[in-house]
């Protein structure tokens, strides 16, 4: 199963303590009328300067929070709360340290009420899919960072969500591991056909992974532009990251982000207490 996502004028404000003392309450606008459509089975990467509300957007889509205005549609149905049709891969893995790799994958399956026997088989199957066959009985502390994130991806995929939400999942990994996991993710995406919304602050990661890259503005977060990525024939055995198309896309997004990053830094300076 797979699903389309559509953000319709999504706005999210938080009450914050104003600069004029504790009494004065102001609104902080994290997201401002975000419009974005993701087709079923599409891989969209979201990039933006830090503090642009990327994670807020994901929380809203995950149903952990509700938008102040606008709505989020999943297969044309509004999102009202968390559910097993969406699953999130967190940057900090969020593995239960007292469960083995197998147990962690089963954790997600327990939440959808799969019978025990099927859980074990399904968990093994998905650990195999992410290349961790043979590591079922390892505890998280016995696994490397990359392997932990593989377990987390297996857990997210095992209960067959329509949409995979990824919140900077590879940010904590070293460059080599990150690149190999990016390839792995693309392979899994092609195989499963899930809709993927991938949040990152890495331009190259976004260009490499995304079929389209949505660039967000800094405070308040708005979709500045959605850039379709065409890197030619991916199946060829070549260094895609050094191809001219890649460089062109990278530069395009870099230019879009540059203004935002400097604006974000300016805002941060102004907000900092003197």
């Amino acid at each position: 199963m797979t699903a389309s996502i559509s953000f319709r004028g999504v706005t999210k404000t938080f009450p914050v303590r104003g600069s004029g003392g504790a009494r004065q309450r102001t609104e902080f606008t994290a997201l401002d009328r975000v419009d974005l459509d993701v087709a079923a089975g599409e891989f969209v990467a979201l990039v933006g300067p830090s503090g642009c509300g990327k994670s807020t957007l994901l929380d809203l889509l995950g149903g952990l929070d509700t938008p102040t205005a606008g709505e989020i549609l999943l297969n044309a149905k509004p999102v009202t709360g968390p559910g097993p049709d969406r699953s999130t891969v967190f940057q900090q893995y969020a593995l239960l340290p007292w469960r083995t790799a197998q147990g962690n994958v089963e954790f997600g399956l327990e939440s959808i009420g799969l019978p025990r026997r099927q859980r074990a088989a399904r968990a093994r199957e998905y650990l195999g899919l992410v290349g961790l066959a043979g590591f079922e009985e390892r505890y998280p502390h016995e696994l490397s960072g990359g392997m932990k994130q593989r377990v987390a991806i297996a857990r997210s995929l095992a209960y067959d969500p329509d949409v995979l939400l990824m919140d900077e999942p590879f940010a904590a990994l070293d460059a080599q591991t990150r690149e190999s996991l990016q390839d792995e993710l693309l392979r899994i995406w092609r195989r499963t056909g899930k809709t993927v919304l991938f949040i990152t602050h890495g331009i190259e990661e976004a260009v490499y992974l995304g079929g389209r890259v949505a660039v967000l503005t800094s405070r308040p977060g708005r979709v500045k532009e959605v850039v379709p990525i065409d890197l030619g024939n991916r199946a060829e055995d070549q260094d895609l990251r050094s191809s001219p198309e890649f460089a062109r896309h990278r530069h395009e997004i870099w230019s879009l982000l540059r203004d935002e990053v400097s604006r974000a830094q300016q805002l941060e300076k102004e907000a900092a207490p003197v």
């Binding site: 952990l64 699953s87 967190f90 340290p97 007292w98 954790f107 190999s180 792995e184 024939n233 895609l240």
Partner: protein
């Protein structure tokens, strides 16, 4: 990370990486090597045992030699061999067994009640944030009131019988357990809570599958603290008003100038405390096997 793990990790994380397309099939990672525990060669074991006992043997030797050499008054500190003989005497005439039994019963009952009360109460208080905020100043105050300072109050109200002794042990033991349990529940990794929320776990399941197992290590720290407290407080309580127990034995021996017997009682208590602690540590290990070894 222990070094033996990086080897199987490498092929999984660094495949030859054809940058173009995905690899046709994932290279199967080699089967994981069995986690290498400390190698139990007899020579190493012997060395470890020797290292661990050398300080204690030195202390005993000093204890034996110092009184004999006249460095200390042997009336007040008899050589260790005399103490050992006195201990044997107490053991054979049954005094040691009956007093130990009296003490152990009291401290185990008090300690057990403290666990039974402290853990569920701590889970409850920690779970309801508002309750925790409301009660924590009070709990801090009680925790920092030395239990023994309240001993006269316990005796006034509950008399000098078993009730007051078990009560004071219970009272002293419940604080470390309660406070550690509360903080355990409150400091559960927020990412795990986010995960549970995104999986739409109902509150009871969340508690059972995330909060409870995540709290186990900190709860055990509290239980271990309570274990040593239970013996400490009990002995003091038995010195005040009791007709049996190791605290009574020590106090009565000193009163009757049976100094070797007094030391025999003291040694018994330290050994007992040591054993109790070891037992709790073993239990803790049993329940927290999933934790990364602290030395790594």
């Amino acid at each position: 990370m222990s070094t033996d793990l990086t080897a199987p990790a490498l092929p999984a994380d660094h495949p030859p990486a054809p940058a173009g397309g995905p690899p046709a099939a994932d290279p199967p990672p080699p089967p994981p090597a069995p986690p290498s525990r400390r190698t139990g060669r007899p020579a190493t074991l012997l060395l470890t045992a020797a290292t661990k006992s050398v300080a204690i043997l030195l202390l005993l030797a000093l204890w034996e030699v110092a009184p004999r050499a006249g460095l200390v008054d042997r009336t007040f500190l008899p050589p260790f061999s005399e103490v050992a003989r006195a201990w044997w005497g107490l053991l054979s005439d049954g005094q040691l067994a009956s007093n130990t039994q009296a003490s152990l019963t009291r401290s185990l009952v008090g300690f057990g009640l403290a666990v039974v009360i402290g853990v569920p109460l701590g889970l409850l208080i920690g779970w309801y944030r508002a309750v925790a905020d409301l009660l924590s100043p009070l709990l801090e105050l009680f925790r920092n009131t030395a239990a023994l300072a309240l001993l006269p109050v316990f005796i006034l109200i509950l008399g000098i019988g078993e009730t007051s002794k078990i009560s004071i042990v219970l009272y002293a033991c419940v604080w470390p357990i309660l406070l550690n349990t509360i903080s355990a529940v409150r400091t559960v990794d927020p990412t795990l809570l986010r995960l549970a929320r995104s999986l739409n776990l109902p509150p009871l399941r969340l508690f059972q599958k995330v909060i409870l197992p995540a709290s186990v290590p900190a709860v055990f720290t509290g239980i271990r603290l309570a274990g040593s407290v239970s013996i400490l407080v009990l002995v003091a309580a038995e010195m005040v008003g009791a007709k049996a127990g190791l605290g009574y034995l020590i106090n009565a021996s000193q009163f009757n100038f049976a100094i070797p017997q007094m030391y025999a009682g003291i040694v018994t208590i330290s050994v007992l405390g040591l054993l109790f602690n070891q037992l709790l540590v073993a239990l803790e290990r049993r329940f927290t096997r999933w934790r990364a070894p602290l030395s790594a």
